[in-house]
Symmetry: C2
DNA sequence: CTTGACCCTCCCATGATGGGAGGGTCCATA
DNA sequence: TATGGACCCTCCCATCATGGGAGGGTCAAG
């Protein structure tokens, strides 16, 4: 199976399949005589695993660890559970952080007339720094919004 | 005021002050005879504005728009409010997306014994793709966890 | 034999941020 | 006055996962 078909079957783009190979998340696949990468069912299975782990927010490095555990028949499920719960904690922390930003902004917007006049408590808060505009510094790890994987 | 002092007073690192200048978010400041950047109270005010807007999750591009509105005395507060509410919507969408990942993972972890045995529904789900492991594709915009601004 | 759909490798961009090298400036103290 | 340390400058690189694209090879159907 060529890389395009593997991408279709796994839900991982060809670009990313090559990337995962480059960074060592997956092994170098067999090559056809023409140099094309060739994938079998096992590879597809692995790629689907990766895809699902990414969908749960694990980084490539974490997925690497998960795949080692997956392949290790003598693993302790406690190790997997620990990783999962750590990830849950990280996700929930980020969630709280974002919720706080949203709340702050929602309160500011609620106090803004939103008409043709220039008076605007949102800008005033950004300019003068009322308490609402200050994060509590409890959470970290926010980068940006708006981009995403397909 | 040199850049280090400006950084201290504004909460924006010197590196980022130079970056914001480079990408056109702030204007080129005055320079001393020795070539050092020189900032006054207005600049600090602006930097604090930027800092607070970043703390609310706005991107540099959005902050640029906000600053234009801020400087425009004839602005309509409706424009600011619209931006704020759009950002609220984006934040809440991301929050839901993350919550869903956390929930899925929490359910999986709850079914995992977490002992020394290898049987593990978390890995099984990643490998076999039960419904829980599939995102609903309602939300987008997740990049990663764990890194953050100070 | 041509055409279009693949595939290959390499390079570049994203966004906000930090790290660091290599070198200049300034001030206080020895 | 000399020197050391704390600044500042510019320029380059790395992050992380992902996509875009150039330039070129391969293959199969018409």
């Amino acid at each position: 199976m060529n890389i395009g078909e593997a991408a279709n079957h796994s839900g991982v783009s060809a670009k990313m399949i090559r990337y995962y190979e480059e960074v060592g998340l997956i092994r170098h696949p067999a090559r056809n005589r023409n140099g094309y990468r060739s994938y079998d069912k096992n590879n597809i299975h692995e790629l689907k695993f990766i895809r699902r782990a990414r969908d749960l927010g694990f980084t490539v490095e974490q997925i690497s660890a998960l795949m080692h555990l997956w392949r290790d028949r003598g693993r302790a499920s406690a190790d997997v559970k620990r990783m999962a719960l750590e990830q849950v904690a990280a996700l929930e922390a980020k969630q709280r952080e974002i919720a706080e930003m949203a709340n702050t902004l929602k309160h500011l917007a609620a106090n803004c007339h939103g008409d043709g006049r220039p008076e605007c408590p949102i800008l005033e808060s950004l300019a003068e720094g009322c308490d609402h505009a200050r994060p509590t510094h409890l959470g970290k790890g926010f980068e940006k919004l708006g981009k995403s994987r397909s």
